[in-house]
Structures are given as structure tokens and as C-alpha cells.
């Protein structure tokens, strides 16, 4: 690969960000164009990605003297997550088109910086480069929440920043140790390196501290509802859509392949936390009066199914987890956009202030319904594919975990349908809510692409699974030795000689047509 497409994909938004800083009002257009250009490059990347080719493609490598290398390269998993980021980004810019009126240039610049760092995080092939990209995202996100957020934004931004920072610094110490032991900071090499079993425990815990906060797993999730609720709409979309995926991606890229033994040892911990998360946060979501908070809690529940799938140590579980990550990125992003659409009109997120929106905003109601169903996991939408695979994966390991986690789908249906009923159906009890106009062309442009991809992923997930198949197989091969034994003990029995409903023929009976 001669054309350094990954670097260019980072340079385009970077140039856009610097231009936005100085452009003021014109920055909206600059931001939109540069995100669209990046998306176009992303499409090019996907087209040129060889599903059966080498594991790491589009690699770039420059030696730096600073103790780490500028090394980029992607596998199928990273490709999909990069696609998710570059796909959501233009939509975020559109979502902020009118909602953001103060300091537009700085706002757009922060988003474009965010995009650079997200692409960098997924594409980094050097462990320290990964850390830099991973951690640097704190700065723009802190500003986005703090400057353009809601009333309680300062508390939320502090909590977000300090929580995530505390999680990641221990990971840095672990990285130093790993690099000192393995003698390289190259991620693909480290993924094949067998660290001493005793050390794996500690390393796993250090990485877990970082990723569990990012995912977030119960009980480290408390920053998420605050950050989501206070962030501007587009900020929530990016948080839910991409930043949460960094945690899951971290598990796939680091914890599982680098510390397989410790991962197996701690699988029970992940299962326990995930089971609590599924049930508890779903119940919490049920009683929320604030729409964004409800969706934020539902994110925690969905991400718990991701972690369960990841630690199932089998192909279904891993595939399911990644598909949920992609699906959740789209769906929860879209749900936040739905909230944003009506928030822009009425400036409240309180569920009780709305009602009967399907009467005056029919198109909006259709989109909202689609995304609600996708969030529940209705067959035909992306949510179904992911949750089915993930739960099928975990069933092979533990029927109990599968049982508890499946209640998440029922509870998910409960809180999402309850939300939808209160917002879209029923009487139009508030005059101002009843007077709101339906979605505009700009909002169509935000919703329609996501809706299309959600359906696509639901009906033909193969497009998204194909690039990752080989990578997941490789990961599964690495994990197979450490995989915990299943409790359901599925055994393939010997087939019976005759059909189950076969009746022994009476004596002398020669059967029909013997005559």
C-alpha cells in the first residue's frame, strides 16, 4: 500500500479543525465538508480492504526516537469501528448545525480533533501511540461537555475527565511493564506474546481499570449518565456511538489476546458485573423521567451484553459483541438524535412534557419507532443480530449468565416501549409539544442514513461480518487454550437409526402399495 490512506484520513479532519478554529461562522461548512471527505476516504478504505488478505492491512510505519513508533494499520475489527466513527461524524455536525450558536468555530474544531483521535485510536499499531490517541480524546470531550453542555455541565465534565483519567493511568504503567518485558511496543507482536501467567493477572486488572470505565461496566458507569445528559446532542452521539466502543475495542485488542489466561480467570468477574448491569441499569432506566438519562442507562445495559459476549471465548460471542457495538453505536446515536430533534424545539428532555407526537410529527415518530425497535432487538434490525449471536455465544459457556442477560431484552422492551408510548402515543397533553413541526430536511439527512444502515445490518449482517471473520477466527484460536469449560455440556449424540415417530410395522404388514 503506497498511498498512506490512514494518515490522510487523520490529516483531513486535522486540517479542517485548524481551519475551523479561525473560521467562526463559516466553520460549519468546513466541518461538514471535511467530515464528508473523511467518510469518502473511509468508504474507499472499506472497498480496498481485502477480506481474505493479510490480517493487518494499510500498514504505515515510521520510527520515532521518542520511545515509540508511528505505526498504523487495521484489521477488520478496526475497519468496522473506523467506519462507524467516520459515518457518525457528518451526522454529528449536522445535528449541531443550528443547536450550537456560541463559539461555533471552537466547537467544530473540537469535534474534528475528536475524529482524528478516534481514527488514530482504532488504527494505532503501537501501544503507546494507542495510549496517546486514547487519552488525548479527553481534552476535546471535556471542552465539548463543559462549554456547550447543559446546566450541570461542570460537574459532569469534571466527573468524566477524572474518572476516565484515573482509569487509564494504571494502564500506562502496565504498558511500560509489558514493553520492557516483551521488548517491543508493536501491538501485533504483543498480541502473540505470552506474558508470564502470574503477571497477566495484574496486567489484566490494570487494563480492566481503564476499559471498564470506558465501556462502562457497572459499578464504574456513574460518569456516563451525567456526561450524556449534560453533553450537547452531538456530544452524546459521539460518546455513545464511538467513545464507549473504545472500551470494548480495548478488550478485543489488548485484554483478550494479550492476557488470555487472566481473561479466563476473570471471566466470572466480567459475567457477574455484566449480569448486575443488565438487570440493574435496565430497572433504573425504567424509572427515568429524563429521556437522555434513560438512553444512557440503556447503553450501560447493552454494553454489558457486549462484555458478556467478549468473554464467552467463542466465535459467536465475539462476533455478536462486535455487531452489538456497531449496532449500538448507530442506534443509541440515533436515539440521542431523536431526543435532540425534539429538544431543539422545546428545550426540555422531560418525558412528561411530550405526548402524542405521532399526530403532529408522523415522520419523526416512524424514525423514532424504528430506532426503538432496533434498540430492543427486533428481528430485521441490527440489534437483533448482535444480541442473538452474543447470547448464543454465552449460552455455550454458562446457561445462567445467558438466562440473566436475556432478561435484559425483555426489560429493554419494557423501558423503550414505555418511553415511546409516553412520547409518541397518547393524547397531545401539552400545547407547545403539539405545535411542533415535523422533521426538516436537515434532520431527514441525519436520520435516514442511520435508519438505512440499521436495516442493512439487520437483514444482511454478512457485509459487516465478512471483513472481521478471519480476525475473529485468529482471536478465537488464540483464546481456545484458555477458554473456560461450559456448564451446559452440550454433546453431540449419536443419531437414532430411525425417525423419532417411526412405528414398528405389524407382523405381516408389507406396507402400502405392496400389492
Amino acid at each position: 500500500m503506497d498511498f498512506p490512506i490512514l494518515t490522510v484520513m487523520m490529516l483531513v479532519p486535522l486540517a479542517g479543525a485548524i481551519a475551523c478554529l479561525f473560521a467562526g461562522e463559516g466553520s460549519r461548512l468546513i466541518a461538514l465538508l471535511s467530515t464528508l471527505a473523511t467518510f469518502a476516504l473511509g468508504v474507499l478504505l472499506w472497498i480496498n480492504f481485502d477480506n481474505d488478505g493479510a490480517q493487518w492491512q494499510f500498514t504505515e510505519r515510521y520510527e520515532l526516537v521518542a520511545g515509540f513508533n508511528y505505526a498504523l494499520g487495521i484489521d477488520g475489527i478496526a475497519l468496522m469501528l473506523i467506519m462507524l466513527s467516520v459515518f457518525l461524524m457528518p451526522i454529528c455536525i449536522l445535528a449541531s448545525w443550528e443547536a450550537i450558536q456560541k463559539r461555533v468555530g471552537e466547537y467544530m474544531a473540537a469535534f474534528l480533533f475528536m475524529e482524528v483521535l478516534m481514527i488514530g485510536t482504532f488504527a494505532a499499531q503501537d501501544i503507546f501511540l494507542f495510549y496517546i490517541m486514547f487519552e488525548a480524546g479527553l481534552i476535546p470531550m471535556y471542552l465539548i461537555i463543559g462549554v456547550w453542555g447543559g446546566d450541570n455541565r461542570i460537574y459532569a465534565s469534571y466527573k468524566f475527565f477524572l474518572y476516565t483519567l484515573l482509569g487509564s493511568v494504571l494502564m500506562l504503567v502496565a504498558m511500560f511493564w509489558m514493553v520492557a518485558t516483551a521488548g517491543t511496543s508493536d501491538i501485533p507482536t504483543l498480541m502473540q506474546y505470552n506474558f508470564p501467567v502470574g503477571a497477566q493477572t495484574w496486567l489484566w486488572l490494570a487494563f480492566f481499570a481503564s476499559f471498564a470505565v470506558k465501556v462502562p461496566m457497572w459499578p464504574f458507569h456513574t460518569w456516563l449518565p451525567d456526561a450524556h445528559v449534560q453533553a450537547p446532542t452531538a456530544g452524546s452521539v459521539i460518546l455513545a456511538g464511538v467513545l464507549l466502543k473504545l472500551g470494548g475495542y480495548g478488550f478485543i485488542r489488548f485484554s483478550l489476546p494479550m492476557f488470555p489466561v487472566a481473561s479466563a480467570e476473570f471471566a466470572w468477574l466480567v459475567f457477574a458485573l455484566s449480569m448486575v448491569a443488565v438487570v440493574y441499569t435496565s430497572l433504573v432506566a425504567l424509572v427515568q423521567a429524563d429521556m437522555k438519562k434513560l438512553i444512557a442507562y440503556s447503553s450501560v445495559a447493552h454494553m454489558a451484553i457486549v462484555t458478556v459476549g467478549l468473554f464467552a471465548f467463542n466465535v459467536q460471542g465475539l462476533e455478536g459483541a462486535i455487531i452489538i457495538m456497531l449496532s449500538h453505536g448507530l442506534v443509541s446515536g440515533a436515539l440521542f438524535l431523536c431526543v435532540g430533534v425534539i429538544y431543539d424545539r422545546l428545550h426540555t428532555r422531560e418525558i412528561d412534557r411530550y405526548g402524542g407526537l405521532s399526530i403532529n410529527m408522523p415522520y419523526y415518530a416512524v424514525f423514532f419507532l424504528l430506532f426503538t425497535m432496533a434498540s430492543i432487538g427486533l428481528p430485521g434490525t441490527s440489534g437483533f443480530v448482535g444480541e442473538f449471536l452474543s447470547l448464543a455465544g454465552i449460552y455455550q459457556v454458562s446457561t445462567w449468565v445467558a438466562l440473566v442477560c436475556t432478561t435484559g431484552i425483555i426489560l429493554g422492551a419494557a423501558y423503550m416501549l414505555y418511553l415511546y408510548r409516553r412520547v409518541a402515543f397518547g393524547a397531545q397533553k401539552n400545547e407547545d409539544a403539539a405545535a411542533m413541526g415535523d422533521i426538516t430536511a436537515r434532520e431527514w439527512a441525519m436520520m435516514a442514513p442511520i435508519a438505512a444502515v440499521v436495516m442493512w445490518m439487520g437483514v444482511y449482517p454478512e457485509s459487516f461480518l465478512a471483513p472481521m471473520r478471519e480476525d475473529i477466527k485468529a482471536l478465537d484460536a488464540r483464546l481456545v487454550l484458555a477458554a473456560p469449560e461450559s456448564d451446559s455440556q452440550l454433546v453431540v449424540g449419536a443419531p437414532k437409526e430411525s425417525a423419532a415417530n417411526a412405528v414398528a410395522a405389524p407382523e405381516g404388514y408389507e406396507g402400502e402399495g405392496a400389492h
Partner: protein, 493 residues
Amino acid sequence: MLDLANSFDLIIPELILTGAGLLLLLVAAWGGDQLSRPIAILAATALFGAGIALVPDLHFGTDGPQTLAFNGLLRVDSFALFAKAMIYLAAIGALIIAPAFFASPAAGEERGMRAEYPILIIFASVGMSIMVSASDFMALYLGLELNSLAAYVLAAILRKDDRSAEAGLKYFVLGALASGILLYGMSLLYGFTGGTDFATVRAGLEGDLAYGPLFGLIFVMAGLAFKIAAVPFHMWTPDVYEGAPTPVTAFFATAPKVAAVALTARVVFDVFGGQVLAWQQIVMFAALASIVFGALGAIGQENLKRLLAYSSINNVGFILLGLAVADQAGASAMLIYLFIYVAMSLGSFTALLMLRGDDGDLFETFGDIKGLAVTQPALAWCLLLFMFSLAGIPPLLGFYSKFVVFQATVEAGLVVFAAIAIAASVIGAFYYIKFVKVMFFDEPAELVTGKSGMAHWVLLALTALIISPLGYLLTPSLTDLADKAARSLFFTI
């Protein structure tokens, strides 16, 4: 005779500075305060010239016996040169930012820079030069006191300002106490080992450490901890930093810090090089305590200078982390950290000096910089970079300084120590991001409306450029120099 010529050859920078200092003192006595500006320019030129004189040896690296001057009183090796380069640069910075401050109403009744200010900076720099190249307790003490006496006067240079006078007095009393402790430790070591030069003392400390020399070691370490403002000997720092005129504070936070840290490194590796276990735990404790108390102390502060004082205590903790590693990689990391710390401190203090109102008066509390991002976006963005850099958030260069220090710590096997220190560093992030919160999230107070001079902007832009991600371009040569310096530090003669 040849030996003497060699020795003088080695101390050319000090000779330049001493000559310039004495000459300018005469000029000042003759011409008075109206000549303060040309004197400052000449002083900066002298410092620059002294810095240029360092370049060849710094570039090629120098260690071994040929670096000894005056029969082993001084040791002008790469390590000393590296520290001197930083000291001179910081001193030039302190000269550049001073005139505008002394011309502002913040200077109180005595408007205008006094002619003694640049001269005192020069003498302090000479003292620091001697400190970092000392290879004998006598030379060490001589340099330390030359620097300290100049510094006491600098702290109190606004004679009619109560805070400045208080700062000077506090600094003097506590500094004298610290010097006393240090002297006592040195005399114990002399008594037990029979020499004052580092090589003799080191030889005398071989083998099991008896209680007597151990006391000497502890007293010396305590005195040095005082000078670098490491916990538990840090109490003077917030008061002195807050009370002293801001350019002087900027100077204190940079040059003497470099000198004292370099001196400490020299003493522990050279004098106590055979007794690593004896001092390592002291340094480890001081490092952790400085990181934690520097961070906790800063949280409640409203005054920005005071906050930066705690921040400097916090940073000393990280610097000592590199020292506690007690190997060449750690020393090199420590020097890299020092360089980046100097750039960050100089930049933040310059930004502080640019917070001026319409009448040129200076602001220095959080309340004054509310909403700075709206009224002075360029300044606010630079401060944002400095604060995130001080907090060690990538991709700013402040992250790299923490990166090298922690890498050295982990590679030396001190994993738990590193984990505790890095977790404690998160506490520090709290008040650094408070800076950003006040400037970016709060409603504008519209106080900072005045314009700043060109010199400030240039210095701010330069330091901001160094700590920006572009600063990584500097790291190869910085690492090279720091490695050479660290190697020469470990060269025992």
C-alpha cells in the same frame, strides 16, 4: 600553570557572567535606575553569550578527568553543562518578562525596574553554575549561598510592598535554616570521612554505613530537599511564590529549581553513589509525598501564583521519581522532565503576567480570569495547553516528560511505586482542569482587557510551541543531550 589555564578554560561561562555582573554593577551605580533597560539587555546578552560558550562541549559530550577544574573543586561535565544551559535560558526568560511587570501598577509605589534586578539575576546564575558543577562540598556551599543571597534580595526587590518584603524575609530565614542543616550534615560527613571533596567522602562511605555518616547523609538530604521544595520541606514555597514579584517567581520556579535538582542528583550519585539504599528510600518518600501534597494543597487555592507554587511542588515529586530510580535511565528521564518543566513553568508564568487590565494592572486570582476564552482567546488557549501539559495529558509534551520518568521507574522494577505515583497524579489533574473550567466554562468577568507587549507574546508562543505536539520534534536531540549528561553523571573518577 597549564592546569590553571585548563581550569579557567572550563569556567569560561562563569567568567563571562562574573565579569558582566561586576561591570554592570558599576554601570548601575553610575547611571542609576534609568539605565535599567540597557542593563537588562546587556545582562541577557551576557547570559546568552555564556550559553553559547557551553554549546561545543554540550554537543559533543564531555566526561572523565579532563572535566575537573581547580584540583577537583569543580567538575564541568555534560551534566553540569546541560543544567547550566537550562539555567541560563530560564534566567533570560526572567529578564524578558520583568520590565513590563515593574512598569505596571502591580509593582506598587516603585514603578520601573530597578537596575539591580538584572545584576542580581546574573549573580544568582553564577551561583547556580557553581552549584551544578560543584565537586566539593565547599564549592557546593559557595555556589548555593551566592545563589541564595541573590535570591533573597530578588524576592524582596519591591521594598515598599508588604507581600514582597514578607516573602523576602521568609525566604531568608527559612533558607538560612536550610543552609544550616546542610552545613551541619556536611560537617558530619567531613568529620567521619576526613574530606570535603566528593571523591574522598565517597571513598570514606564505602562499606556498611555507620550512624554518624548516616546522620550526615540525612541532614544533607534534608537541606537539599529544602532547596528543591520537596515535601516535607516545602512550606516556604507557596508564601514566597505568592509574595515575590511575578517575574521573580517565574525565575524561582525555573532556574534555581534546575540548579537544586541537579545539585541533588550530583550529591546522591557522586557522594552517596555507594550507598544507594540509604538515600533511595528518602527520595522515594519525598517524591510520593510531594506528588500527593503538592496536588492536595493546590486544590483549595484561589490565587494563581500560589497554585502554581503547589504545582511546582507536585512537579518536583515527579522529578524526584526519576532520581529515585537511581540509574542512568532515571537520571536522563529526570533531565528531560526538568527541561519540559522549565518550558511549561516559564510559559504559565508569562501567561500570568499577561493577565492585565486596561490600566495595565495585573490579575492573579481565579475570579479574575473567568471566561478568559471569550475576552482573550489566544491567551486562554495557550494557558489551556500549559495546564493540560502540566497535568500530563497527551499529546502535549508534558505527557512525554511523565512518560519517560514512569518508563524509567517501571523498567527499574519499581512497579508498585510507579503505580501509586501515577494514581496520585490524577489528583493534580483536578486543579489543572479547574483552570480550563474557569477560563472556558464560566461567564466572562471582562476584567482582563489590556494588551500585552511583543516580548511576552513571543515568549508565550515559543514555550507553547515547545509543549505542543510539535515539541516531539525536539525529543531526539533532547534525549541525546540528556543521555550524555546522565552518562557523565555516572562517570566516577
